[in-house]
Amino acid sequence: MTQTQTPNPVINPKLIVPFMNAVRQVFKTMAGVETTVQKPFIKPHPGASYDVCGIIGFSGDITGTVSVSFSDSAAQKLVEAFAGAPLDRSSPDFADAIGELANMIAGSAKQHLGGLASISVPSVVIGKGYTISNMTNSQCLVIPCGSPFGEFAVEVSIKQKTV
């Protein structure tokens, strides 16, 4: 990744750990791929981390978005491992697979976040230079991830309802 990492003491591990675990579990279980997660950081700018991105919205006790973005080559190989066959980057099936991976990561993490929240059906963006705006004004925490097929990142921009 080319971003400058901003050290920040306010990253809440209770918010991050469920996503780190979800990433490892989803790729191992559904694609047979071992992944690694690195130290999270606060995203210093609203630009895209990578060019292929699955986005899930949260509502209820948790609001905001979680996105999983992949480098192009990582996306193509991880999707192939997940779907069991190579999929053309421009086909609806490719976007479908990216969306379903994002859905499983967000959904798996959700159960450990506390409260009762609903998640949206996935949206998928494929292209360069997009930004994701979030109405919750929450910081965007980036969890850099690695795989044998290349890098990707989970971006968590959610707020939990305070009781």
Binding site: D96, E100, G107, S108, L116, V121
Partner: protein, 125 residues
């Protein structure tokens, strides 16, 4: 045995099809949301033996679909296959009438085991 796969992800339907093809004599039908699934159910003579139902889908979600099916059909086996893993969600699905529940992500073995378990329980009843 006729199985209806209800999931908005075609990739997930394909994965389920591949895993469940291990069962003998399977015929599959597919729907991308609950509303489409209801249309397919209404148009299928003899109905289905088993339906695999995702929760979060556009147009009509899986829980609503299950409730609508159970208004008239208490017999067809329904398995919710979803990322929704909170206890309250599972209870909602059970109250709505699902026979079993499998949480994504799942291994092929875990999915097949849930289906076999559901079929065996129904046979024994």
């Amino acid at each position: 045995m006729k199985i209806l796969l209800v999931d908005d992800s075609r990739t997930m339907r394909n994965i389920q099809k591949k895993v469940l093809s291990a069962l003998p004599g399977i015929e599959f039908a597919e729907a991308g949301d609950g509303s489409e699934a209801l249309t397919i159910v209404a148009a299928t003579s003899g109905g289905f033996d088993l339906m695999m139902v995702d929760w979060n889908m556009p147009v009509m979600d899986g829980l609503t679909f299950v409730k609508k099916v159970r208004e008239t059909d208490k017999k067809t086996l329904l398995i919710m296959a979803t990322t929704e893993a909170e206890k309250s969600r599972v209870l909602d699905a059970v109250r709505a009438g699902v026979n079993n529940y499998v949480v994504k992500p799942f291994t092929p073995e875990a999915l097949l085991e849930k289906v076999n378990q559901t079929l065996a329980k129904a046979k024994a009843a």
